[in-house]
Assembly symmetry: C2
């Protein structure tokens, strides 16, 4: 699959490396052309790099791995609704805002980044997933032993199937993927983040954790 | 133990019944004296009922089972800081607000009900717990099979020990209780609620579910 990744931070390049190992055709996109980190990574992994627009153009699947509060801006720079129309857009971002010195979400409660993206780009087929675990676990769920749960939310059933297929390539068993319905489900997935951070502290900083939904 | 319960809704009376079955001395408190539901329940369970102040007076442990957005008001009516001073105050409430027609939290992101209560009543020993599961599961965790996780947060280590002891009487194994640190941990525990509601829908309304933290 031809996959474009927006964002050249740790999460973006973690996706890039895993997707190259799975033999996908990858372009990572940065805010500015010639981003040294992206260039270096692309050379080392036989992948392409360019602008946000370069990453989206020609991609069958777009992964938003930018910081959540800048996601709509980044996707606008990538060409907006015309460029994204019909494409599956996997949003793995979180609206983490540390500008006040303590962690808060830049949007929550009555809205979410997933919903903002779907509203801003109505012809994109937005699927929220993977934001509830650390980047390493996103692409290698076996870092956490046994069964544990990944959520998906989005308005387009076919787009969710594509994403669940990609999750399967990463190692997420279909039985462990829980469909939360339409894109408003991203609200709960993003608002889980403060609990995730508290759990991370309680497990002494071990990033290889997740939650499992257990049913009676 | 002499336990006072604030709130005569389903959660309050579920606690009352379970605590009476465990042979604790229980007083349920309502906003107004003579609340018919409370009177009827108390008669049937050889327990006492009265005002919020009656429930707090003489209690060694107070359980706040009122709606989160009214919790501080209810505790103020119960006598406020002088009445609560030194007492363990287990807050199981959630700030659910349906006044706009869709579910939202009345406080979140930079604050929480647990923190509001601790600030308003600085001499109470507030512990947040149990709000992350349905009332039936709170007092009967075996409704969900196998191991699953309960969180506690609070500033007072001894108060947390008292609460973990009570959780043990309900059936929560100590190894499944995860201490999230001080009362600011209640922020994540309350912000988990939108995800809880989404999961509830995804499991077709089966209230007997919880999450388990799985670590690599």
């Amino acid at each position: 699959m031809r996959i474009g990744i927006l964002g050249t931070g740790t999460v973006g390049l973690t996706f890039g490396t895993r997707l190259r190992n799975l033999d996908h055709d990858v372009t990572v996109g940065a805010r500015e052309l010639g981003n040294p980190r992206a260039v270096e990574w692309a050379e080392a992994h036989a992948a392409a790099c360019g602008t946000f627009a370069d990453a989206v153009s020609g991609a069958e699947l777009v992964i938003n791995a930018t910081a959540g509060q800048y996601a709509v801006d980044a996707l606008e720079m990538a060409g907006g609704n015309p460029a994204l129309a019909g494409k599956v857009l996997l949003d793995v971002s979180n609206p983490l805002d540390f500008s006040t010195g303590e962690m808060r979400l830049s949007v929550c409660n009555t809205d979410s980044v997933g919903e903002q993206i779907q509203r801003a780009f109505p012809d994109a087929r937005v699927v929220k997933s993977l934001n509830t675990v650390n980047g390493s676990v996103m692409v290698e769920p076996s870092l956490v032993p046994g069964a544990h749960t990944m959520f998906v939310a989005g308005n387009d059933a076919d787009a969710k199937r594509v994403v669940v297929g990609l999750l399967g390539e990463f190692g997420w068993a279909a039985k462990d993927v829980l469909d939360l319905g339409d894109i408003t489900g991203s609200r709960g997935m993003e608002m889980y983040l403060p609990l995730w951070v508290s759990i991370l502290r309680a497990v002494d900083g071990n990033l290889a954790f997740n939650i499992k939904v257990v049913e009676g």
